[in-house]
Amino acid sequence: MDMQAPPAALLSLSCIAVRDETPTVKTFRLRADSGPVGFTPGQALVLKVPLPGGPVWRSFTISGGAGGDLELTIKAQAPGGATRWLHENLRDGDSIEARPPRGAFTLGLRSNDRLAFVSGGSGATPMMAILRHLADTEPETDLAWFHAARDPAEVLFARELAEIQSRMPNLTVAISVSRAAPGWFGYRGRVSRGRLATAIPDLGRREVFCCGPQGFMQEVRLIHAAEGGALAQFHTESFGGAAPAAAPMAEAASEDPGFGLTVNGRAIGIRPDETLLQASLRQGVIIPCGCGEGMCGTCMVQLVSGQVDSRPNGGLTPEEAAEGYVLACSTRAASDVEIRLA
């Protein structure tokens, strides 16, 4: 059995610059050793972050890129986590590995020429990537952006937004902060229907791209619907959400043992009603995962043998699929299956 992970799935990147955006947010500029990397604005990169306790895979939206470089704008979260490690350790000249850009949260979804971006916290990053692209290619775009931040110091990209707005006459930007300070003249408070409808009165007529914490996106989805928006005109980027909980033990299912599942040589079982990810988590085999919805690609594993029902939701490139990779969160077994963590 070939024990080496196929190199084609991984990019080797060099950090070529780091700059501070806010006190807690940095932008990392990365260059692939293999040459320029293409991406569609809104897509994400899954980094292999070498934490002291072992590597973890984390999705980050590509906030921008030029000349084949990729930029990641990352907010430092709790100590001990991947984002904090990157802030403290990834420096100019360092190397890091990643899976190629992936994700379906892009302008390819667009079906309406009136757009709204609604973002919370670091959910601004895919918006910014798409906005930079629009500013260069379709500056007349009718776009209303509502961003919710915690406090004014954390409002991302403010200066750049002003510059972009000078080129995009139909761009409006409204920002609401939940912890205002003297000198803040924008909206105050968390996202609500009243606040959002005040900032974007025709929200229900616009096609919404929404990114932020799960609860935030759920609320915005309800608001868009309550304003008369159609569900098909509402798109979310759902990476970075909570990892799916392990599937509850279903005693009733024990009569049907399902199939055998082998992960990195360890034999466990999988029931017909659970995904590779659920079966693994349930039995203590940890597969790194992100969105749980087949979009971020974090839980990509290589299928060594067996028949599967795999339904990735844009989180797998055609090349990766052709090379035998599947996403554990959105794949079920149709026979005994063996997989290997990538």
Binding site: R193, P201, G204, A225, A226, E227, G228, G229, A230
Partner: protein, 410 residues
């Protein structure tokens, strides 16, 4: 004479039964109804959003009394007897309109929107215009609903206001607009129209459109139905409690009823498929499943407040055997017809239901004319009819024994 006759009929009345025939069909008693009920109590007139700008007005007739309800220059709602102080002509002619000043079409006396007479051409120099203002009518606005009272000293609406406001205010009726209005005339006494509205015993056999969504209580003792409804009510109540929306019945006695009830499972609005009639929800709601706040108040009004629209019904008696029923549909003020809502979809259930109710009330009226008619017993599910007839009997008893009766006897 009439008062003695009414007192005698009240004496024949059996509680828990429909009224003696003459209360439904007699012309003299109809005129007594107008004096005893419609000229003493608060009458629902319209919604404030039907007259949104200063000078917007709406006319109606309470018995023989033409009334104009308008919005004055301060943005307040006011009402006047729509009768010129010159020789009594009706001033505002249209059902709804806008007027900078109220000008009598007969001799062009000009009234300000506050009712004061400001011009009366050809009148002598010493004519005192201040003594010829339009006669005012009392107005109270409760959650966007305009109630008027023709009495010199109107009864208090305080209990009603306090009782219904917590249920209705979250739907923000002030931030709606008129989407549609329908007026029909039923060949039936006004009390039959009201009574028909107070029970759903008749729904199963007559309202196929309405029962797609409306939970009807026709079979409260059927354990299966009861268990199903209780589960639905409990789940709905938990959700509404979480949203801070009251739902338990208000203490309205015989005067009013206010309660939030769920629609049938998976139904959100009065449509033929149970899905919303207007995609833009009212107020700041993001939850479409709010059932409906059902509120009625004697003598002439019932309403439904939903997540996506509001329905208001106004009953005005025309004669002993003719009654006008006006229905208004209100949607979010920014909702756009053809985009957020379709008028046919919004109105078809209640247009059909109103017409079915018209036929029921007309048949009821015709049958009561039979010499074989005897007051019949109410079913337990018709308890609101008992409340209504108790309230009506009280009004008529007051009328027959009140100060006017003593004066007439002297």
């Amino acid at each position: 004479m009439l008062k003695e006759r009414i007192a005698g009929l009240l004496g024949q009345r059996q509680p828990g039964h429909s009224l003696p025939r003459d209360f439904y069909v007699d012309d003299d008693i109809f005129r007594a109804d107008m004096q005893a009920v419609f000229e003493t109590d608060w009458i629902f007139a319209c919604s404030t959003v039907e007259i949104p700008r200063p000078g917007d007005y709406l006319t109606l007739k309470v018995g023989d009394n033409p009334i104009v309800v308008l919005r004055n220059r301060d943005g307040e709602i006011a009402a006047f007897h729509n009768s010129c102080r010159h020789r009594g002509s009706m001033i505002c002619q249209k059902e709804r309109g806008r007027a900078n000043r109220l000008v009598c079409p007969y001799h062009q006396w000009v009234y300000e929107l506050d009712g004061s007479l400001i011009n009366a051409r050809q009148m002598p120099d010493d004519f005192d215009k201040t003594a010829h203002s339009l006669a005012p009518v009392h107005v109270e606005v409760i959650c966007g609903m305009v109630y008027i009272c023709l009495a010199d000293e109107p009864p208090s609406l305080a209990r009603f206001r306090a009782g219904v406001t917590p249920y209705i205010a979250p739907h923000m009726p002030d931030r709606t607009k008129l989407a549609f209005t329908s007026t029909i005339v039923e060949e039936a006494n006004w009390k039959l129209v009201i009574e028909n509205n107070r029970e759903c015993y008749h729904c199963a056999g007559n309202h196929p459109e309405l029962l797609v969504t409306l939970v009807e209580f026709a079979l409260p003792d059927d354990p299966l139905v009861k268990a199903q409804f209780q589960g639905l009510m409990e789940r709905s109540a938990t959700r509404w409690d979480g949203l801070g929306l009251p739902h338990k019945p208000a203490e309205g006695g015989n005067e009013f009823r206010c309660i939030r009830l769920p629609f049938n499972e998976n139904c959100l609005s009065f449509t033929l498929d149970g899905q919303p009639a207007c995609n833009k929800l009212l107020a700041d709601f993001t939850e479409p499943d709010l059932g409906s706040v059902r509120m009625f108040r004697v003598p002439n009004n019932w309403n439904h407040f939903l997540s996506d629209h509001i329905l208001q019904f106004r009953v005005l008696p025309l004669s002993a055997n003719r009654t006008e029923v006006r229905t208004t549909w209100l949607v979010h003020e920014d909702a756009v017809e053809g985009v957020d809502y379709d008028l046919q979809r919004l109105t078809e259930v209640w247009l059909a239901t109103n017409d079915e109710d018209r036929v029921l009330a007309e048949n009821n009226h015709r049958g009561i004319l039979s010499r074989a008619y005897r007051p019949g017993p109410y079913a337990p599910s018709e308890f609101m009819l008992s409340n209504f007839s108790e309230w009506y009997a009280g009004k008529m008893a007051y009328f027959t024994g009140g100060p006017q009766a003593r004066l007439a006897a002297e």
